[in-house]
């Protein structure tokens, strides 16, 4: 089993459109993991059927039993998250601010505070286009712990891949460099960076590349919208050359990207003869060659 993680640093660079295309091309030989749990979108392009659903619990919430509470205020005193306030003389917990640290519950002299496990989201395993399987999730509204949900999605995808003897896990990561991204990267065999020829694309690319270095992960790059600005594309290429990261493809600014997603299809399905599709097909072949030569 070989895991490929696709990330971008910046949002909106085409990461999900490209990941979904790879998944479509590989079909039943891959398990797909949508780790952008904050704003999951792969299910739209791959026609997920949400056939299996499981509650995901993470984090806890303090609940004050008013009948036991004598309003001593000790809980409010120790809370570092401003999650406890007094309303009409009674201490209450602000659900959004409570971090679930247990401190208030531990110091309450009347044992009036219990910690309740919180449902943080739903985990789905779906049948998708081309006889494949996808693990994806929906984070609860205003819930936290997306890093842990990402870890859970990846773990389920890997178990399915091993159990059913699939060669690849194709993981669509989330934007940024923080906890969900770090969580999506763990255990990756190869990272595909999707960037775009804009000043922000380059800036964010540099931040994720530095992050990858700290984890000693091998990466290759696809430059999207390369013709938006020739100078920036050149700058990206020079930077990546220095960092020893191979640019395997450059995609033009092309509204077919949007047309395909409006039609809820990966680009390679929307029009398999288009210039974009041909480049993506070639890229996927090259990615497989690279990863197979390593693992």
């Amino acid at each position: 089993m070989r895991e490929i993680v696709i990330i971008s640093g910046k949002g909106g660079t085409g990461k999900t459109s490209i990941s979904a295309s790879f998944a479509y091309l590989e079909g039943s030989n891959a398990v797909v993991a949508d780790c952008d749990v904050d704003a999951a979108n792969m299910h739209i392009l791959l026609d997920a059927d949400f056939s299996s659903k499981e509650d995901f619990f993470s984090g806890e919430l303090a609940v004050i039993d008013e009948s036991k509470c004598n309003n001593c205020g000790k809980c409010k005193e120790v809370c570092r998250f401003d999650a406890i306030e007094q309303k009409d003389g009674q201490y209450i917990v602000d659900k959004i601010s409570c971090e679930g640290c247990w401190y208030c519950s531990r110091v309450c002299p009347n044992d009036a505070i219990t910690m309740v496990k919180q449902k943080a989201g739903d985990l789905f395993v779906s049948n998708i286009k081309n006889n494949s399987t996808m693990v994806h999730a929906k984070l609860g509204f205003a819930a936290e712990n997306s890093g842990k949900l990402v870890a859970k999605v990846k773990q389920e995808a890997k178990i399915l891949a091993l159990k059913n003897d699939k060669e690849f896990v194709i993981t669509d990561g989330s934007p940024g460099i923080g906890c969900p991204v770090i969580s999506s990267l763990s255990g990756a065999n190869l990272v595909v960076l999707v960037t775009e020829a804009t000043v922000s694309g380059l800036h964010d690319l540099k931040r994720v590349v530095k992050l990858l270095k700290t984890f000693s992960l091998e990466a290759i790059c696809i430059i999207n919208k390369y013709d938006l600005n020739a100078n920036i594309t050149q700058e990206i290429e020079e930077y990546l050359l220095k960092e020893n990261i191979k640019v395997i493809a450059k995609l033009p600014y092309d509204e077919t990207f949007t047309q395909a997603l409006t039609d809820a299809k990966p680009i390679v399905q929307y029009n398999d003869k288009s210039q974009l599709s041909i480049i993506i097909q070639k890229s996927w072949k090259e990615i497989k060659e690279i990863i197979r030569s390593r693992y």
Partner: protein
């Protein structure tokens, strides 16, 4: 007035709108300040070129083990709900990256052997341009928790610009960083694009803002591509559409270079004006 500019999906134009709107308002005599809260990937500074006037290290408080009086009772590890402390028979190991700074281990330690100390997580920089200031929070690489830095950046803005219009450029998504960037604001603008991805992520963002009980409005960017589903959704949910920014490769090219767009492209300027008028009407 404090307005957060957010979106579920990344790359929909949060930074473009916040940078251009701030510059436009300042040019028209408003006292306005911009804070870039996308601390994992702060980009506003690529579009606004100011002179740095202040740089502050942002810390979070984490326990540091002091072995002198420690009895290795293990209470610290027992009370930590985030697995940030491992108590061995002859050593206490702290994992600062897992610490949520709740102080429980430190304050419940019977021998005061885990004093809380500041540890760097990033920095806050303040830049000045000729007519407004711009604040950037930037998380250090390898740091996982954006929330404390977002909170500190907002605190800085609140303390130093009490009477300004405060525009907060939020990170993408719907989880803790976005909530931190929105929960104290008077209004939240959600930017989306008229595609199934845009709609899906807008729906998630709207539901999150409902939980936070925030007043919201929507900006549709790249109007003209995709379909009408976002507009139909907003009509059904009775969410005002503040403006529709036309899909235009010239806008993307301007953005690519890191330039402000409204001084160069008329239809974009009209959209920025509409946003400014909308905010004026909120007061």
């Amino acid at each position: 007035m404090k307005v957060t500019i957010a979106s579920g999906k990344g790359g929909t134009g949060k930074t473009t709108v916040s940078a251009n709107l701030t510059a436009y308002l300042a040019e028209h005599g408003k006292s306005v300040v911009l804070a870039d809260l996308d601390v994992e990937e702060p980009n506003s500074g690529l579009f606004i070129h100011g002179k740095q006037k202040l740089q502050k290290i942002a810390n979070k408080m984490v326990p540091h083990w002091n072995s002198t009086d420690c009895t290795y009772c293990g209470e610290c590890a027992d009370v930590c709900n985030f697995n940030a402390i491992v108590a061995l028979s002859d050593e206490i190991i702290v994992h600062p990256e897992l610490c949520h700074s709740c102080y429980a281990c430190s304050e419940l330690c019977p021998t005061n052997s885990l004093p809380m100390e500041a540890e760097r997580i990033g920095e806050i920089k303040v830049f000045e341009t000729k007519n407004f200031d711009f604040i950037e929070g930037r998380l250090d690489l390898g740091q996982e928790m954006a929330v404390p830095l977002i909170a500190q950046t907002i605190d800085y803005v609140d303390e130093n610009y009490p009477n300004h219009i405060k525009l907060l450029d939020a990170p993408p998504g719907t989880s803790c960083p976005v909530i931190e960037a929105s929960k104290e604001s008077d209004f939240v603008i959600l930017i989306t694009e008229p595609t199934p991805f845009g709609l899906n992520d807008l729906t998630l963002a709207v539901e999150t803002m409902k939980v936070l009980e925030k007043k919201i409005g929507v900006i549709i960017n790249r109007h003209g591509i995709g379909n009408n589903s976002v507009e139909e959704y907003c009509a059904k949910e009775q969410i005002p559409i503040i403006t529709k920014i036309k899909n235009d490769k010239a806008v993307a090219q301007c953005y690519a270079k890191g330039e402000l767009i409204y001084p160069k492209i008329e239809h974009f300027k009209e959209s920025i004006k509409e946003i400014a008028r909308f905010l004026e009407g909120l007061k």
